[in-house]
């Protein structure tokens, strides 16, 4: 079965430090890749997505992610976090053969400490 794994359920990080959130998916077939953020009591908001082309994707709020086909990974990074980045982050994949639905990872809760 097609699946998405986020290896870290929680990541505590100090303000202005870098952060990396890891995401791996199960299938090597064609995929589209997404990172969404969910702030407390808010809906999911798209951070960035990879459809094709350059494997390094830049998104909103200073986030970027790199697609690695051989490792079936799509890790999210930010060089310097702010308190306002405290939120839950979800990696999601569309497996092209399965239609347009998103398969989500379990989420990574980022807590930025002052």
């Amino acid at each position: 079965a097609q699946s998405v794994t986020q290896l870290d359920s929680q990541v505590p990080v100090f303000e202005e430090a870098p952060v990396e959130l890891r995401c791996n998916y199960s299938s090597s077939v064609s995929v589209y890749l997404f990172w969404y953020v969910q702030y407390p009591n808010q809906g999911l908001q798209l951070l960035l997505k990879y459809l094709s082309g350059s494997t390094l994707v830049k998104g909103i709020n200073g986030f970027e992610a790199e697609f690695n086909k051989s490792q079936t990974s799509f890790h999210l990074r930010k060089p310097s976090v702010h308190i306002s980045d405290t939120a839950e982050y979800f990696c999601a994949v569309t497996f092209k053969a399965a239609g347009n639905k998103l398969t989500f990872g379990g989420g990574t809760r980022v807590l930025v400490k002052p």
């Binding site: 998405v4 986020q6 589209y32 997404f34 969404y36 808010q42 809906g43 999911l44 908001q45 798209l46 997505k49 459809l51 979800f90 999601a92 569309t94 092209k96 239609g99 347009n100 639905k101 998103l102 398969t103 989500f104 990872g105 379990g106 989420g107």
Partner: protein, 114 residues
């Protein structure tokens, strides 16, 4: 429209009651998705509409779950004879038709079954 809206935002139901959850997608969005998000987990796909046609209902957990989108705009997710395990946040998302298009999420309906 301004975004995807969902109503009600919160719903408390007694076990065995029927509930109906409404989703208003972004105007002009052909695709509409329903997801279920249990506490502490990532969203899981329930069903997908393209206009009024329900093209994928593989994620509906039982025949107590039913979704419709009769005029290709507003959608309703109905749960009959609710059970405690139905307690979750139900998310609606809409997008343009093409594969890889961003899905825009509503704020969700938090359902608690007592």
């Amino acid at each position: 429209g301004a975004g995807v809206s969902q109503s009600p935002r919160y719903k408390v139901a007694k076990r065995g009651q029927d509930v109906a959850l409404r989703c208003d997608p972004i105007s002009g969005h052909v695709s509409l998705f329903w997801y279920q998000q249990a506490l502490g987990q990532g969203p899981e796909f329930l069903t997908y509409f393209q206009n009024e046609a329900q093209l994928d209902k593989s994620g509906l957990p039982s025949d107590r779950f039913f979704a419709e989108r009769p005029e290709g705009s507003v959608s309703t997710l109905k749960i009959q004879r609710t059970q405690q395990e139905d307690s979750a946040v139900y998310l609606c998302a809409s997008s343009l038709e093409l594969a890889g298009e961003t899905q825009y999420f509503g704020p969700g309906t938090r359902l608690l079954v007592l």
